[in-house]
C-alpha cells in the first residue's frame, strides 16, 4: 500500500485497502465553518433526527467566512452555530481566530490523522502528513452521528519536484504550474503525494500552499510525508506527541510526474479558471484595481514577510487598494510584533481581521463592474469576489506586493 492507502486502512481498521474500494472509516476530527454549519445542523437535527453528537472534542467549529458578521443573515447563522455548540458542549469553537484550515493546522492536526471538513480546502492538512478532505453538509451531518464516513479509496498520483526555485519564485508559483498541467479536473477523485528536493526545502507554510490547491485540480487528498520540519512545527505549537514517520514499501501509484522547477518563472492564473495559467511574462503591465494578500493559500506569516520586505518604504499605486488579511490571530500578532503591519499601513494598505476576507467575496473588498483583482487566494471563478463582470488573477504574495506598488502586473524578480 502507498501512504494514502495505509492511512485509510488504519482508519478503516482493516489490513489493506485497494483503489476503487468503498470503506467506512473513523475520523479523528470533523471541521465545520460558518459558510455551511447552519445547514449541517438542520440536516443533523431535522433530517437525520440526530440527538447528541458523537464526540464533543472532535467536532471543531470555526467562524471565519462572515466574521465579524456583516449582515443580519450572517449574524443569525452565527447564532445558530453558537446555540448548537452550547447545547452539544462543543469544546472547540473559534470565532474570529482565523481561517478554519489555518486554525486546524495551528491547533489540532497531527500526522497520520484522517479529518473531514465542510470546506473544499480541507485537503491542506496533507502539508503535515494528515489525510483530510472536504465534504458537503449531509456527509458532515451524518459523520456527527457516529464519527464515521464512507470513502472510496482513491488512486494516487505522485508528483516529484526536483531542483531549486530561483529567487522570486515561490511555492505558489510551483503550485499553479502543477495545477495548470493537471488541469482543473486532472486529479478528480485522486490523491496526490508530493515529494522531492524542492518539497523538502519548503517551509511548512509553503507546503500548506502546495496542498491547499490540490482541490483546484479536483483532488481528494494531498500528502507530504512528515519530516523533521513538521516535528519542529508541531513542537513550536506545543504538540509534542510522538508520531510515526510511516514507511510505505512497494506502494503503487497511478502515475508519477516529475518536474524540475529550477527554471520556473512566476505564474499567474487568469480569469475565469484556476487552470488558465501563464508565465508572468505574458501578462506583464496589466493594470489592476485591487490587490489582496491573504486566504488559506497565502495568508501566513512567511507570506506577509515576503510582501512586507517588498513594500517596505514604498507606497501602493494611486487609485488602487491593497487589502492584507492575516490568516490567523497568531499570524496577526506576530506580524504586529515584527513591524509588518506598520509597513503595510505605511504603504497604504488596509488590514482586516483574520478570516477569509476578500477570498470569500461576501464581506470586504468586493469588486465593482469591470474591475481587476490580483490576489494570493486560490480561486478566480466568475463573480467570486463581487461583480460578475470583474476579473480575478491569482499569484504569489511577492507578485501581488510588487504589483501593488506599480499598479500593474510586475515581475518580483525585478526588485529581489
Amino acid at each position: 500500500m502507498n501512504e494514502i492507502e495505509s492511512i485509510i486502512a488504519k482508519h478503516a481498521a482493516v489490513e489493506r485497502v485497494v483503489p476503487g474500494e468503498i470503506v467506512e472509516v473513523t475520523v479523528d476530527f470533523v471541521m465545520t465553518n460558518d459558510a455551511t454549519t447552519a445547514l449541517n445542523i438542520s440536516i443533523f437535527e431535522d433530517t437525520l433526527e440526530g440527538d447528541t453528537i458523537w464526540d464533543n472534542e472532535k467536532l471543531i467549529m470555526v467562524m471565519d467566512h462572515y466574521t465579524p458578521s456583516n449582515t443580519v443573515a450572517a449574524a443569525n447563522t452565527h447564532k445558530i452555530m453558537r446555540d448548537f455548540a452550547k447545547k452539544q458542549a462543543v469544546k472547540y469553537v473559534y470565532d474570529g481566530v482565523g481561517i478554519c484550515h489555518q486554525v486546524m493546522l495551528e491547533e489540532h492536526i497531527m500526522p497520520g490523522q484522517l479529518i473531514i471538513g465542510a470546506d473544499s480546502h480541507t485537503c491542506s492538512y496533507g502539508a503535515i502528513g494528515a489525510l483530510s478532505t472536504g465534504m458537503g453538509s449531509t456527509d458532515i451531518a451524518v459523520s456527527w452521528l457516529d464519527g464515521k464516513t464512507w470513502l472510496k479509496v482513491p488512486e494516487t498520483i505522485k508528483i516529484i519536484l526536483d531542483g531549486k526555485a530561483s529567487n522570486g519564485v515561490y511555492s505558489k508559483d510551483i503550485t499553479l504550474k502543477v495545477i495548470s498541467d493537471l488541469t482543473a479536473k486532472g486529479a478528480t477523485y485522486k490523491a496526490i503525494v508530493f515529494e522531492g528536493e524542492a518539497v523538502s526545502a519548503m517551509s511548512i507554510a509553503e507546503r500548506m500552499t502546495l496542498c491547499n490547491m490540490v482541490i483546484e485540480a479536483g483532488g481528494k487528498f494531498a500528502y507530504i510525508k512528515p519530516d523533521e520540519k513538521v516535528k519542529q512545527y508541531l513542537n513550536s505549537r506545543g504538540r509534542n506527541d510522538a508520531f510515526e514517520l510511516d514507511v510505505c514499501e512497494g506502494g503503487q501509484y497511478e502515475r508519477i510526474i516529475r518536474y524540475d522547477i529550477s527554471n520556473l518563472e512566476p505564474q499567474i492564473a487568469c480569469p475565469h479558471f484556476v487552470d488558465n495559467i501563464c508565465g508572468i511574462s505574458e501578462v506583464l503591465g496589466l493594470e489592476m484595481d485591487e490587490f489582496f494578500i491573504g486566504a488559506c493559500t497565502n495568508g501566513r506569516y512567511e507570506d506577509l514577510k515576503v510582501a512586507a520586505d517588498i513594500l517596505k518604504g514604498k507606497k501602493i499605486a494611486p487609485q488602487t487598494r491593497l487589502i492584507v488579511t492575516p490568516a490567523s490571530r497568531e499570524i496577526y500578532k506576530q506580524a504586529a510584533r515584527d513591524g509588518l503591519l506598520e509597513i503595510f499601513m505605511d504603504s497604504g494598505a488596509m488590514i482586516c481581521n483574520p478570516g477569509c476576507s476578500t477570498c470569500f467575496g461576501a464581506t470586504e473588498g468586493l469588486l465593482g463592474d469591470g474591475e481587476r483583482l490580483l490576489t494570493t487566494a486560490n480561486r478566480n471563478f466568475i463573480g467570486r469576489v463581487g461583480s460578475k463582470d470583474s476579473y480575478i488573477y491569482l499569484a504569489s504574495p511577492a507578485v501581488v506586493a510588487v504589483s501593488a506598488i506599480t499598479g500593474k502586473i510586475t515581475d518580483p524578480r525585478e526588485v529581489l
Binding site: 468503498i22 459558510a35 443573515a73 447563522t77 458537503g136 451524518v142 482543473a184 479536473k185 478528480t188 471563478f381
Partner: protein, 168 residues
Amino acid sequence: MSQKAIKFGDNIDTDQIIGSQHLSLPNIEEMSVYTFEHHPRFAADFVKGDAVVGEENFGCGSSREQAPAVLKALGVSAVIAKSFARIFFRNAINLGLPLIECPEADRITHLDVLVIDQAQGKIINQTKGESYAIVPMTGFLKEVLEAGGIAPYKKMKRDEAKHSHPSF
C-alpha cells in the same frame, strides 16, 4: 417522461450555481432564487422537471452542498454531464439528486428534448433523433440514490439493525 435540456459547458463551478453572498440566507428555498444568477437563460428557460446538462467537471470548486440542494429544490430532474467534480458528485448522491454521467453530453444542445432511460442505460435525444449511452451507477452509490439519499439510507440501515433479531 421527457424533459428539456438546460445546457452549460465545461467546469461549471459551485460559485456559478449559487454565489457565496447568498449562502447565509436562512434556507434553500430562499437561496434557490439565485440559482445560476449570472446565466440568465436558466431563469428564462428552466421549468420544473427539466434536466441541467454540463460537459466536463460539472460542480467543481467549493464543497457547498447548497449547490446540488438548490437544483433539487427547483425540481431539476437530473444533472447530466461528461464528468463531475468529486465533492459535488458526493453531495448530489447524498441528497438524492440524480446525476448521469454521459460521455456524449456535449452533443446535447440547449432546449433539446431528452428521455432518460435508466433501465436501458441511455438518453434519447428526441430533438436530434440520437441516443447516448450512460455510465451505469452500481453498488453502494446506487443503493444510496435508490433510498433517496444518505439520510434515508442511514435511517433504513438503522431500522434494519433494530428489526433484525439474534437467531437463538
